[in-house]
Symmetry: C2
């Protein structure tokens, strides 16, 4: 759930004058996205999403994010598309914040994904990876292997408040990952946050993927590892091999994985688990006063990391060459 | 902003089978209403509001609220209308809560009402009062003059944390209001919470009123006094006579006020200011841990109450017989 910036009628009407989508019918704050304020905007031309970019998003990154959505939509990926103003630009300002209107996507995120959902997510992720090879902009991943130790140090001695022994476990894992990280695998634009919240389905079929605000350039197989963590564990943290097989099968039907990528999956899954563990740990220990967002429990990712530490080869995920 | 109960795809699909509005397109939590969880539900048949009634709403009151909306909509008041299930009922259950689907209303609430808005609000309030005279159900106001002292006692000795001397001021005001309350004025169904958040406008015209979950039977002119407090003060708490004149004029064009009602307006405004002061005071002193709602500052209603205490006659509101 997001912060909601209050928008006055005159502000939104003035803002809409820059567009060719008719007059305002309704504007409702919606509980979607955590970093930004999102509104369902309805005009003469239909429903849209209005996004106000709050402080946590770096304004210099917005052309990458909006350009990526446009590029992907143009290349057959079902995702929201920024709406151009009459001057051809996508980015404007509203209530003192950068703001954009994005097309509205029907669909519903599943809370309990089935293997059939996982397979479609794998295929959509691969389509995104293929479609973005020709995307001209790039953005460094601010949360990749080299960033994890400084992030860990921000939690520092308070880490063991979450779970005794956690600091030692993370420190040992960082030593391992910094040595073993497979820097030479194929790279490209990754989503980096393709959790079930960010994938819509309609009558069982994937209708689109949203929230490209962690998108960046990194190892493509790392994006798949993020999805394995996000989609293939049960609520009790047990690993569902059937879902993992379906996810990877869906992916490989669109983009095959090299032997090196397959071999690296356990390390990439460990890295992905650590990355989400570290941000959740930091957010858990640093809830700002008056926060409207309940922080996510880091323990889920401790369990996932421990699972991947026990995995010796991709076959143990049910994945074969 | 409301609590959001998480709803699974199978839950919502099962729920929709009770209705004749087609299949699910999308479901998004929206930031509307404080007591309940509200979602924008889109199906083959278009957009709707799905409301899940959370703990603060008494389930026994729901037939009154839903019946009132249906009755008002049938009698020419622009307001959301509950959608009947194929069995003819309005109230079902979803995610272990009472739930109803309500028709979707276009429009946008104004943050800075102008006199033209106030006039339309007055007329809409009077139309609601007239239309509900034939509504067969009734509901006691749980927040009327007799309830204020027990409510005040729940804040008790902590009251002066908000403002030194406040407890004494409230206690003196209660003594006054309990003696002077005009119990014999015309009664009927009142909205009791017609704040700017609960009125939609479209291109300057009032498009509807929402949120009937404080609706009850009480003095009709008390409802107008609530609106005077909610619509006719500026952000610096100064009283805007032009807006008050417009509000009352709009009201009287639809339902005239008796000499007794007019004469009682200063007392009713004091009572209304105290009622909102008391609930805000309590909420301010009792923020539950993990709350997603930022409590409203009670000081605004201290200022409004003080203003009305200084008013000797309705003429001082700019209102003439």
């Amino acid at each position: 759930m997001a912060v909601y910036t209050e928008i006055s009628e005159s502000q939104i009407n003035g803002f809409l004058e820059q567009y060719d989508i008719g007059e305002l019918h309704a504007l409702k704050g919606i509980a979607e996205g955590v970093e930004n304020s999102n509104y369902l905007l309805t005009t003469d031309a239909g429903p849209y999403i209005l996004t106000l970019y709050e402080k946590r998003v770096n304004e210099a990154d917005l052309p990458f994010f909006l350009g990526l959505m446009e590029h992907l939509a143009d290349n057959g990926v079902n995702c929201p598309q920024p709406v151009a103003m009459t001057n051809g630009e996508y980015l404007s300002r509203l209530a003192d914040r950068p703001a954009a209107i994005i097309s509205y996507l029907d669909g519903f995120s599943v809370r309990r994904p089935k293997p059939s959902h996982c397979k479609q997510v794998g295929a959509a992720l691969a389509r995104m990876h293929m479609a973005s090879t020709r995307f001209p902009l790039s953005r460094k991943n601010a949360l990749t292997v080299d960033d994890w130790r400084p992030l860990f140090e921000m939690s520092g001695s308070r880490t063991d408040e979450v779970s005794p022994g956690l600091a030692k476990m993370i420190s040992t894992e960082l030593d391992f990952l910094e040595k073993q990280w497979p820097h030479t695998l194929p790279r490209g634009v990754i989503h980096a946050d393709l959790f079930p919240d960010n994938v819509f389905f309609l009558k069982g079929e994937l209708s689109g993927i949203i929230d490209f605000y962690f998108g960046c350039n990194d190892l493509l197989a790392y994006d798949l590892a993020i999805c394995i963590n996000a989609w293939c564990f049960e609520p009790d943290h047990s690993f569902n091999v059937t879902k993992a097989k379906a996810l990877v099968k869906g992916y490989r039907q669109v983009r095959d994985l090299s032997a090196e990528e397959l071999e690296s999956l356990p390390v990439l899954c460990r890295g992905s688990a650590l990355r989400f563990l570290l941000t959740r740990l930091y957010d858990w220990l640093n809830v700002p006063p008056g926060a409207l967002v309940v922080p996510k429990d880091p323990s889920e990712y401790i369990a996932k990391l421990k699972f991947h530490q026990s995995v010796g080869s991709p076959e143990e995920y049910g994945i074969h060459d």
